[in-house]
Amino acid sequence: MDTDQLIRSLAADNAHRAPRVGAVLTMALLVAAPLSILIFATFLGVRHDVMTAMHNPFFDMKFAVTLSLAIPAIIVSLHLSRPEALLRGWGWLLLLPVGLLAVAISSEAMMAPAMPMTMRLMGKNSRVCLFAIPAMSLPLLAGALFGLRHGAPSHPALAGALAGLVSAGLAATLYASHCTDDSPLFVATWYTLATALVTAIGAAVGAKVLRY
């Protein structure tokens, strides 16, 4: 087929309209979310003292941290789904949870903590955390990758890593309501490790499936 002929067939298909990447990503995440919630409801559930915990600022802070990861990651991943987009000027959005954690850790250090630092850091749920966040992330990661496939990212591994951050941020939000370890030291250690794992999986899979 010569190029003029190809162009003719493309022009004939001009009436076809694809939805925006944001719409497809939103739909895919909404389809995947019930699976993650099912895992949460089956194996974890909300912690029993949640009504009291809500008055603890460090409990609330966990949601601020996880959502400040998930929401900026969605925004940046949509930005990067355009072929000419660069991370430059947008990457700082991904530092929001890091900044929040730093503030939380220093405010906890300034208060008189109830437990010694190593106990706060190790917590009681580190193993559950390391397993539960990636497990709940997987359906969301599949959804995020499916949604981003609709885009045209120049760096598929980077876009896949962003999908990993999106899904880990959302899964960690669920997990935070289960976990009784509220110290920002615990969050900074174990949530971060779990997120790094999911991000690495996202990057590896994204490098393959997000080429356009």
């Binding site: 493309l10 298909d13 355009r82």
Partner: protein, 181 residues
Amino acid sequence: MRGREDEWTGLMRSAMAGDDAAYHRLLKAVTPVLRAAARRGLARAGQSPDQAEDIVQEILLAVHLKRHTWDSEAPFAPWLFAIGRNKLIDMLRRRGRRIFVNIDDFAETLPGEVPQETASAGEVASQLNTLPQRQRDVLQSIAVESTSIKDTAAKYSMSEGAVRVALHRGLAALTAKLRDH
């Protein structure tokens, strides 16, 4: 250069608003520029310029299938050239070449270097044969025989809607085969 790129942006806006003729003109206008850039990129990588047309056709298909990622408030050329670079790098990678793509290969094309011509490429043509019968028939009819959607529908006793679906699916399948083979 600026005038040319502004014209492209205007044509793409019209195309997205449903003007098929503007879309056709735009694709015709960018093709020689893409071809010159692809040749230059291949030469830089020590490859034969014969494959330039394969790259051009892959770029055109990607432009078509990903045009919803273009922001109509943004200029068209940077978006187009980003896809061009991506496809050139992909092609070189598939050939196992080390990549030294100059990011200006696509942006620097001068009007003098862009002869109007059309050329065949092997890869799209050979992948076309692997498509399901119906998609292949429709693509052949519209692209090669230059038959309208309406007349293609009559020829194969299909509805116009079914022809449109087969056309779009055929183009999408072609792109996936080129990417993955």
